[in-house]
Chain length 459, copies 2
């Protein structure tokens, strides 16, 4: 029976196939079951999950999305919930409790046995964005003085067959990290060798308080699949595998992309986010931007005399301000991303500034020239009549575009750096600030240049 058929049966309330599927079929990854449960309506998914044997439930649980996890724990019996939550691997357990808040968190913490409860409690004390929140506290340690054969014997007795046994940690009697050994080295070397003989003396660690971004950067730099996490005394507290970091990197990027589009980062995927929460996330920034942009009406108000004398000036307002906005958002994107990937730091501001002023000038010249040519062509082909002073108007557009694109580029590149300097997240706050600033000042630049060039003619 293939997945589609099973899916159909589940939707019809027939969970027998799922039962077989989760129970007997060794070939199936628990994620396949999780995917099927996500594809059917929540009520059906809850029923189907309840029909699974508890060992399958425990395997499938970590692969479910956080919303479904919450509902399941609320639905199943307390005994089952206690079993599942205690049996989860420590990183999956932390991920579940991280998604709970307040009373809910403390209620379900009480289901854990003392050891697990203390461990979860400790880790939840670290910031949301810290490596601590991702670590697995089950790991395999050995003493450096034994032989490979003895180490293998020790592992066989004390360690389960989980991914945390891919790398073995050599620690001293105080639990301080000496080195890490990929388990393959036990296989590839003579079992009579001492552990000390197969150490390469090279290991990379993370601290509990490092951010998830730090972890992503370290994994990329050193090509590791798992890194040990230690405290200040170099005592090994947990391990972090790269696949968990892959999620963290993707979440970071999703947040960054959404912030860029002027949306507060969503907590759940778009399709799972409720309508109300979607509106809330969008309305916040939309209102902030709207209120900021109201300044454009105020700015235009100052120039209403000029506009009534020369209506033609108003025609180019959208073109002028959108050019400022576009060049500003280009610069902001490049700088924010480079800072997120740690290619740039605040210290590079002078390098960035020089470069962006020059870029702004070049890009402004290009757009200004196109704008000038546009007016000249429309005028001379009689597509629109800009009046007898069309040449001066074209010059106004030319110089305004240079000024505004330079200003957009400069603000777009500097605002993220300044925000970072003040410990604010550049991704969250740059877009609205750049947009508002560039639009409002763009209008001032445009009408000021117009006043200078067109004075005594149409103004």
């Amino acid at each position: 029976m293939n997945l589609k058929d099973i899916n159909k049966k589940i939707t019809k309330g027939d969970f027998s196939s799922l039962l077989n599927f989760g129970n007997n079929n060794k070939n199936v990854h628990p994620n396949e079951v999780a995917k099927m449960l996500s594809a059917v309506p929540t009520e059906t998914a809850l029923e189907a999950f309840s029909s699974l044997p508890i060992t399958t439930q425990t395997k499938v649980f970590p692969y479910l999305d956080k919303l479904l996890q919450k509902k399941i724990v609320k639905t199943i019996t307390k005994t089952r919930a206690t079993y599942i939550l205690n049996e989860l691997s420590s990183d999956d357990r932390i991920a579940y409790y991280s998604s709970l808040k307040g009373v809910e968190r403390s209620t379900y913490l009480d289901l854990l046995d003392e050891k697990n409860k203390d461990a979860v409690h400790d880790i939840l004390g670290y910031p949301d964005n810290s490596v601590a929140r991702l670590i697995n506290t089950e790991f395999a340690t050995i003493n450096p003085k034994i032989t490979i054969a003895e180490a293998i014997e020790h592992l066989r007795k004390n360690h389960r067959d989980t991914e945390t046994a891919n790398v073995i940690y050599v620690v001293d009697n105080d639990g301080k990290l000496i080195d890490d050994i990929p388990v393959r080295r036990f296989v590839l070397n003579d079992p009579q060798k001492k552990i000390t003989e197969i150490l390469d003396g090279s290991y990379i660690t993370l601290k509990m308080t490092d951010t998830k971004e730090d972890a992503v950067a370290k994994f990329k730099e050193y090509d590791r699949i798992v890194l040990p996490v230690t405290n200040e005394d170099n005592i090994l507290l947990g391990v972090l595998t790269v696949d968990d970091v892959l999620d963290a990197a993707e979440q970071r990027d999703t947040k960054e992309i959404q912030n860029f589009g002027g949306v507060e980062g969503l907590d759940y995927p778009y399709v799972k986010t409720t309508f109300f929460s979607l509106i809330k996330k969008r309305a916040t920034w939309l209102i902030v931007l709207f209120v900021g942009e109201m300044l454009t009406a105020t700015a235009m108000g100052y120039f209403d005399a000029e506009i009534s004398k020369a209506v033609v000036l108003a025609l180019f307002v959208p073109l002028i301000i959108s050019s400022g906005g576009n060049s500003g958002s280009q610069a902001a994107t490049l700088i924010i991303r480079a800072m997120a990937l740690k290619e740039l730091t605040i210290k590079d501001w002078w390098f960035v500034m020089r470069r962006e002023i020059l870029s702004g000038l070049t890009l402004g010249l290009i757009l200004g020239t196109i704008g000038f040519i546009r007016i000249a062509i429309w005028q001379n082909l009689h597509l629109y009549n800009y009046g007898e002073y069309w040449f001066l108007l074209a010059l106004t557009i030319f110089f305004s575009l240079i000024g505004i694109v330079m200003w957009g580029t400069l603000s777009g590149s500097m605002i993220p750096i300044i925000l970072k300097k003040f410990k604010l997240d550049p991704a969250t706050s740059s877009a609205p600030l750049v947009a508002t600033l560039v639009d409002v000042t763009g209008l001032v630049i445009y009408f000021t240049i117009a006043a200078i060039i067109l004075k005594g003619t149409i103004l």
Copy 2:
């Protein structure tokens, strides 16, 4: 001696410490050497690299950025280049040749021995974005009929101590994949067991032609650290490790973010991109957007009679069109990201459309109300005089905002889906299309509503 001191020495042209460092100091990861070389001027880096022993050069080479790699191969002797390029691990070799073009590629291909040359040649035949470009063709295989002890013996004789030995592949006599076994299972089980006894019958594969995005999704779904890559006949051709995918995911996101900001994806990090190439990448889109936005001047031209009669209408143009643009870019961001993460497909268009029309209406009502109140307050506190028909003007703004935000939201959500339908990349082309469309049509909506409401008063 710490890294900073060594760095200082290198900059002064004293490479002795680097020599010791790369040569004797087992504790140091090759990436540390690479980072130091990247931190000094290119000329110094080339000199310093040349002074390293060839074994260190080979280890450090993969960690250097592509620009420096190219320059190094051009600078060092042909013998050295031949040695290094042949000794690289197959994925690093492919990465190097992928960055070369045309004549340069074929010149340096000639440095490889026949086997490597053929392998590189084969893989370069696959698309840039395919999994094939990332695979490592060195992997460890065993026959299912032997015992664990025999398998260990086989690996010791035939396999180097590299990360590709973390997972062992069980293949039949034709090279067809039967299962994969993490090497830890050899250690955790009785050596007298047959391989068939420790198989779990569950493996996930990638195809050579799968995209890098497919690979990212699979690694995330199945929590694996390495996946086998096979052809259509299930013959094992290579393996892909998750850390290489981490790079791929980050590159994809960087491209997406840059496209969003209206910049063509950069080939190198911002700081390494030359000024000229930076301008080229930015000017292209900036010009496209500018030419598109010129339509706003045309659209405004059609309403110049209205504007000269009621200059006050012009004051709200920036506010009105930026609201359309912002709501459009919110919607586009959410949809594009959800499609990139495979949470949404083209088939969901109807779900998205209903949802976004409703969101647009709600958000439009919110902004419209704020806009209305803004005018009422300014008028009644005498901050600006909108004239005797200020109430009708406020109504115009109210209805225009509802219309434009709904339109922005709808276009922002549908354009990415339509582009995807026509096999175009939604991330690349959505931003400019949405911006231009919403700005131009926004003006038309605004002036049309104004004409209806204000006819016979100020118009």
